[in-house]
Amino acid sequence: MNVLAIFKREWRAYFASPIAYVIFTIFALISGYFFYGLLTFFSLSSLQAAMNPTFGRSLNASEWIVRPLFRDIAITMLLLMPAATMRLFSEEKKSGTIELLFSYPIRDWELLLGKFLAALALYSVMLGISLLDIALLSFFATLEWGLIFSGYLGLLLLGMAFLGLGLLASSLTENQVVAAVGAFGVLLLLWVIGWTTEAAGPTLGPILSHLSIINHYDSFAKGTIESRDVIFYLNFTLLCLFLTLRSLESKRWRG
């Protein structure tokens, strides 16, 4: 029950401030624009193929539009999610309300879970906005719903990882800017860490590639679900939440 109470409080807080609206607007604008770009490019390619059938390309809307769209959405989320999580603990620390919360009969994990779920709900609404693009696309072409399902499942798992790290960053500092920039920096680093695989050599290379947060998303975007990718995101999220709990706890024993 406590989790629900925290969830409601955070959910309301998102909409009391302009944060939610700004995030929704920016996300709708960016994802809509990405989609429009992909759609017109695909339409142009289709036209070229129609005029010159020997081109012999397989023009599949799911492969050409939906798959890159998912990747674009993932990048947008990388930029926006730290903004959604930055204030969750930092603000409470700064304003001192965290002391108040600690004095309530709420367990740390309930507090954490409530906040996490609120952020996840916000994230899910954003994914819902991107469904408008898919809905529009389904008027023009037959889509592969299996691929779309796995793409969204992957985005959800990826988003959980983003939010977990954002929460951790927010719990470590009382400065919201530091929390947002810190979370974004670490996520970006984890995003690009796979780029140096080649130079890192045969031992370190696969480890770096495995740590790359986006490498695990590729299989979802192309329409397959791999157990190791699902487990990676769940593990990553759990680790972040665990560390956040420890960070909250430390307030008590460090005094």
Partner: protein, 531 residues
């Protein structure tokens, strides 16, 4: 002294870190960096010794104990998560949700890779920024997931020129499959090439496809429309050696023949050649015979012994005309279930073909099956005069009504005893080596009423190539080489009208974000005002 202690710890730490970095950059300065590391360690130990009293005091504090506890727990959780990661990375399960499961390996591939009994090391040479690298890596990873014996590495030939030189890599994308003392090079990484490369690597001895010559057969080196050069290249790409056979000189089909192809002979075979063929079938040989209309009548009698009736006719297909072809280019789109036509959906085109059917009753020890037939609008024209005049019409009672079969397969139980077949010793030995002696006794025949469908001009038409290569693979008893065709996503082109394009733009880029903006502004402003 206290000041000294306070300085010793940070400087010791700095020295340790600096030494470590220096060693990583210049491993050759071992002695020097070793000295720095040692000095750092000594300084740290010294500071610990000096501050021993403070440390014990700090250790006994409750918060320290809790902190250490938490630290230990964190390490434990990290360890568990790391372990789960390692296990999950090694034991992967995948669900393919794409239409047609295009990211799932073919059953044949799974069988081959799972059945590996020796280690296979695959080295793919791709430039780091090459677009094909990612898909190739993904494919190789799927193979590796199937068997721990399959290992792969993707190497940039520009950064590892030594390795590239060792394998003689000339072009990007070249991939080496290696087993002890054996290696196989494939020019590109795709499922068909990889699996067939594996099969070739696992195979003992070369497999040779012989093409009979001396009777006006299709020319293997001929690159013109009617030639067979592309067919030859396609067979070679499927890992066979292609050779020509002048049976008049050799007198018997060589023992190393995986199969013999008789492709569109224009003149009759000599009696001795037919005997050699008969012997070949008796010892379990594999034959692909393509007979064009009105040619080589004695081969017609030869295949009749194995329950195959070849008609003295030409197939006329009215439907073909509507597709833009000639009346005499029947289209085959009905296939009967068989390894050769398994999962076959493409039509094939047979320019100038005769009917080939199953004889009733069948001779003993022979099973014959139709492969494919033309559509209902076709018939087999028996009147050659009509054909010459160019006025074709179906005559009830005289012409054979459609659908007309154009290809059959036959399996023949070898009736001959070991002693009777010439050169049985080697055959026997080869049979024992393969451990499938009885199976290799069964001869296989594929007979088509046309040879033009695999000529340069028609090979790449729709399903022709697959039909031809599948026939070859089935004859070679390597069904594994069948059915691994790259799966492609279905084509769903979208051509937007200008209105639709503008509508998409306004809807998604202006209206939807605008609604969020307006609702957000009004709610936040409203709150401010009400405050």
């Amino acid at each position: 002294m206290d000041k000294l202690t306070r300085l010793a710890l940070p400087s010791g730490l700095i020295l340790l870190v600096a030494g470590g970095i220096a060693y990583n950059i210049r491993p050759d300065l071992k002695a020097w960096t070793g000295g720095v590391l040692l000095l750092g360690a000594i300084l740290i130990l010294l500071s610990v010794y000096r501050a021993f009293g403070t440390i014990t005091l700090w250790l006994n504090r409750r918060s320290t104990k809790t902190g250490l506890n938490v630290g230990l727990m964190t390490i434990l959780v990290l360890g568990i998560i790391g372990l789960v990661e390692i296990i999950s990375a090694r034991h992967n399960t995948r669900f393919d949700l794409t239409a047609g499961r295009r990211y799932t390996l073919a059953d044949q591939t799974r069988k081959v890779v799972k059945g590996l009994t020796k280690d296979v090391q695959v080295t793919a040479f791709f430039r780091a920024d090459q677009a094909e690298r990612r898909p190739a890596e993904e494919l190789l990873r799927q193979y590796a997931d199937l068997s721990p014996r399959f290992r792969f590495e993707v190497v940039d030939p520009d950064r590892n020129p030594g390795k590239a030189k060792r394998y003689g890599i000339a072009t990007y994308g070249t991939t080496i499959l290696e087993m002890p003392e054996k290696e196989e090079k494939i020019p590109e990484v795709d499922e068909e090439r990889l699996t067939n490369g594996l099969l070739k690597l696992l195979r003992e001895g070369p497999r040779i496809v012989y093409f009979l010559k001396g009777h006006g057969e299709n020319e293997l080196e001929d690159g013109s429309r009617n030639g067979y050069r592309q067919a030859k290249e396609a067979i070679e790409k499927a890992n066979y050696q292609v050779k020509e056979l002048l049976l008049l000189r050799e007198r018997e089909v060589p023992q190393d023949a995986a199969m013999l192809v008789i492709s569109g002979p224009k003149r009759d075979l000599a009696e001795s050649e037919l005997q050699a063929l008969d012997l070949f079938v008796q010892r379990g040989g594999k034959l692909l015979i393509q007979l064009d209309p009105y040619a080589a009548p004695n081969l017609k009698a030869f295949v009749a012994r194995y329950g195959i009736t070849v008609g003295d006719d030409v197939i006329v297909d009215q439907y073909a005309r509507t597709m833009g072809g000639d009346y005499l280019m029947p289209i085959v789109s009905t296939y009967y279930p068989h390894a050769i036509t398994h999962n076959f959906t493409l039509a094939s085109l047979f320019p100038f073909a005769r009917s080939v059917d199953v004889a009733r009753p069948l001779p003993e020890g022979v099973t014959v099956q139709k492969l494919g037939e033309t559509g209902p609008g076709s018939w087999a024209e028996t009147d050659k005069g009509e054909l010459n005049r160019g006025q074709l019409s179906f005559e009830q009672g005289q012409d054979r009504p459609g659908p007309v079969p154009v290809g059959v397969i036959a399996t023949v139980q070898g009736a001959q005893t070991d002693a009777a077949a010439s050169g049985t010793h080697t055959a026997e030995k080869a049979g024992q080596e393969q451990g499938a002696q009885t199976q290799s006794r069964i001869a296989r025949l594929v007979v088509y009423g046309n040879s033009g469908f695999a000529s340069n001009n028609f090979l790449h038409f729709s399903g022709n190539r697959d039909l031809f290569l599948n026939s070859i693979s089935w004859l070679a008893e390597e069904e594994a080489m069948i059915a691994i065709r790259p799966q492609e996503a279905g084509t769903t082109p979208i051509i937007l009208s200008a209105t639709q394009g503008r509508m998409a733009f306004w809807m998604l880029v202006v209206v939807v974000p605008g609604l969020f903006l307006i609702s957000g502004t009004s709610i936040v402003m409203g709150r401010k005002r009400s405050r």
